[in-house]
């Protein structure tokens, strides 16, 4: 379990990093290393060069503004989780991050790295999609913003070009009258979920105006399903609506039937919790 040989570069400017990345087809970006290093050690990946971005300036921010939370490429899961401001602006961040691995891994792993790693079993790619956020990427060719809906191409595959570095993820804040909730079932505390479900619900008074549910580990990409119609219909079955777009698979920890069952159990629960959350926030907004 030792990596194959690779060249190692630790640039101190973004320009240098981008140039190196553009110049070496087999190069890979190294952020927190919590996904990449195990792949190297098991020789499941053998990049010719690692470009370590940990010495780059100005990428460690967790910045909260009117419109939402901006997380820099070097902000660790633990830092995002610890930010009370971020939790205030977008409560789903903290709800989901507390399920991402264990404290030691969260101390190193980056939220942006997790998103561009595009693991369907990871919480944050789904959260970004559910919140309709985006990722800013740069390359020698320039800078662009990729909306979450266009970010995930396939299993462990993002739409970043080889020469692009993700510099920031943007999570929109939670609007008044909106609520979120997250639940997951994992075999052990901190493991990747067997099934994880988050809900984002918008309300207007008692009425639910929009309801969407995001899923972890139920398909090979992060999936978000709009279940507004099913929620608004008194006889509606949001889980069934969602399952029509999901593809639960069997692995050594769970059968497809069990995953399907967990979707049926968790989806209504998180929808109810998110609806309550939305109403309680609406209530709070009115109270003062």
């Amino acid at each position: 379990m030792k990596p194959a040989p690779f060249a190692f570069l630790r640039p101190s400017t973004l320009e240098e990093a981008l140039a190196a990345l553009a110049g070496e087809q087999g190069a890979k970006v190294l952020a927190g290393g919590q996904s990449l290093v195990p792949l190297l050690s098991m020789r499941l990946a053998a990049p010719s060069m690692l470009i370590d971005i940990n010495a780059l300036p100005d990428l460690g921010h967790v910045r909260v503004a009117e419109d939402g939370v901006r997380v820099g490429a070097l902000a660790r899961h633990a830092e995002v989780l610890a930010s009370a401001e971020a939790a205030q602006a977008q409560p789903l961040l903290g709800m989901a991050l507390s399920h991402v691995a264990h404290p030691t891994i969260r101390n190193r792993g980056t939220t942006v790295g997790s998103i561009v790693h595009a693991d369907a079993a990871a919480e944050m790619p789904m959260v970004l999609r559910l919140l309709e956020g985006s990722v800013d990427v740069v390359s020698v060719r320039g800078r662009r913003t990729i909306p979450a809906a266009e970010l995930f191409a396939g299993p462990l595959e993002s739409t970043l070009a080889h020469d692009e570095i993700a510099v920031e993820a943007f999570f929109p804040g939670l609007a008044p009258g909106a609520g979120v909730a997250f639940q997951e079932i994992a075999r052990r505390h901190g493991d990747y979920a067997l099934v994880g479900v988050a809900a984002h619900v918008e309300t207007d008074g008692e009425a639910v105006t929009r309801a969407r549910v995001g899923f972890v580990s139920v398909s090979d990409v992060p999936v978000v399903v709009d279940v507004t119609a099913a929620v608004q219909d008194p006889g509606g079955d949001p889980a069934a609506t969602a399952l029509a777009e999901l593809d639960p698979a069997e692995d050594i920890h769970a059968t497809a039937a069990y995953r399907t069952h967990l979707v049926k159990v968790l989806a209504p629960r998180v929808l109810a919790a998110a609806t309550d959350h939305a109403r309680s926030r609406a209530g709070e907004a009115i109270r003062p």
Partner: protein, 804 residues
Amino acid sequence: MTTKMFGAKVARVEDQRFLRGQGRYVDDLLTDDPRLLHSAVLRSPHAHARIVDIDVSDVLDVEGVVAVWTWDDLTGPMAEPLPLLIPHPSLTHGRTQYALAKDEVNYVGEAIAFVVAVDRYVAEDAVARIRVDYEFLKPVVGIAAARAAATAVHDDVPDNVGARMEQENGDARAAIATAPHTLTLDLDVERSACTPMEGRGTVARWDPDTSRLTVWSSTQTSTGVRGCVAAKLGLDLAKVDVVTPDVGGGFGVKINHPWPEELLVPLAAMTLGRPVKFTEDRREHFISSAHERAQQHHVEVGFDDDGRLLGLNVEFWHDHGAYTPYGLIVPIITSTQLLGPYKPANYRVVFESLYTNTVIVTPYRGAGRPQGCFVMERTMDAIAAYLGKDRTEVRATNFIQPDEFPYEHGLVFQDGRELTYDSGDYPASLVKLKELVGWDEFEDFRAEMAAQGRKVGIGLACYVEGTGVGPYEGAHVHVETSGKVKVATGLTTQGQGHQTAFAQIVADTLGVRFEDVEITTGDTRKMPYAVGTFASRAAVMSGSAIHLAALRAKEKALRIAAEALEASEDDLEIADGVVTVRGTDASIDLGTVAVLSNPLRYAFDEASKAATQFSVGDPGKPPVAEDDEPGLEGKDFYSPPRSTFANGMHAVIVETDPDTAEIKILKYAVVHDCGNLINPMIVEGQIHGGVAQGVGGALYERMAYDESGQLLNASFMDFLMPYATEVPTRIDIDHLETPSPLNPLGIKGAGEAGVIPSAAVFAAAIEDAEGFPIMSMPISPSELFDLRLAHADEPHPTEATPGI
């Protein structure tokens, strides 16, 4: 007198070192030696294949590679198969692998080539360049495939059966045929493994000037490794030293020896004239060390209206993997220890030990007992359910009673000796357990939970464990002139706290301060005669030997002190390292006694002047009497007639989530009887660790082999060893101390106990919560969900079929 140390909750002195990261494990050794070389092994990626050709020509081109070995390069005993450590007449078709595969590979992970290089990175690069042509054979994976025998693992082993063994006491089948009630059960336990934190590892250094080989290995038997290394490399035993430094856990897997690397590393060190190291990585540990547990049982039982066992007939199939280096120990233990604390009037057991194209099977903490306990306790529960009786009542009906010891089962145990229990008080243990877990109040609790829409269940399981198997252990106790006491025993330490527990024994027996006692284990230079640390034997075997050796040292100290103090030995007592004439001020410290014990010509310090030729002795006699030896020392061995049998009972209350099928532990209770307790804190630590490992085995861990023999979960990502968050935060423990009459300290082993009843106790509790039988372990939420679906339409499902 000093406070008695035996029985005291003395904090483990080794923990400071371990918890501060100051342990020294094999991989920490020789790291500053610039000549140290590292190794890596090419392992078979296929479960069953013939090796057509191995091409290593590209390997030596890799910069930093020093040497490469395949079977073709091995000579003499090294080219022969590895030893079959424990032969048995029933093991008619025993097979062992070669240090490097010859012609055929029989499991994914089997060693094929050995590369030595300047570091492990280069060694792995080189391994990747070895090209092997394989001719694929169909793999045999799992017990069903082995029994079907459509393919043979070894061409010359018919039906994949390595051994068939039968034992019977009475006539079980006849008893069942005439019994008022009968039941049949089919039960399954899956593969798991020890997975210690530290994997296997070996370092060897050859000194060409003295022709001496030193081997450091992460093993549970340094003497065993020494014997094998000397034999395989053709060295005189006296030229080989094996030292076991700190070991990061064994749990059984490191008792198997010699591993291929344990021979290849010394071979390379001798050939290359440079020290060589092998440090196993985690994936290697999963696919090339050893597993255990997989068995299938078919039980037929006949009983009366009280649930009394009239006849028990058990047939089982044991998956021993690709080879049988450790003989039949595991299935023999299952077949005998299955009986637990019960006395069926007639018992027959027959097993087949089967070859599969998977990793070898050797003892894992519990060593076949968890399976046996699972089978017996499931049977007890099935009988109780059938008769509508309380589960504890059926057990109590079948207990061996306290006045029936020694109790002979009429069977032969794993050590080739009669299965005779020495002592125990099972009824008393059961009373304690029921109280500890709240057995009689449980139905109220169940109702209370049901009112909240919650499902709970309770289960219990009892076991008896043969501990402290022979043949022997020895000890050497040496009182230095400083008064410090150096003790050596040959078995090894893998975290059990031997420094603490053994020092407690010496402190009491010899009358010295606990802090003055230093224990050395697992170093063949200090104690070349030893067996090893397994089968919960260290306290019983080495503890007893140390006690006996300390007694000898004490005898000698009293004799010399009596002379010096001009008193009778009977009037002397030793406390805190000082010999005193009882009731007087006259005293001499043990250091001075040590000085006097060793007549000297040369004084090397102030104290030793007292022992020089013009100071002591009768000039008319030899300075050392004919039947005496110089030095204040004691050496002795302990060899028991047979194992001593510890016992215990566990109970658990679980909650099963009605929606998600998740399984939560609400309460875990243990009543434990390992005879006299040397150190209750260490024993409870062993129980905690065992229970944690048992929770893993019952609810999380399994070896997920696919049909082609690939292990799909060969990492801690997917092999779900429980975290601190998955094990009970609290384990209620009560002790019973029924001394063993077989050893001078009245002790029994405690190392494996915690893990033995877990599969049984969790199956019982989940069954109780769910209302349908649990016949296969481990169980995951996904499997519980499947069972719920399968039993959804049955009002009173039962898997134990009435009749036979």
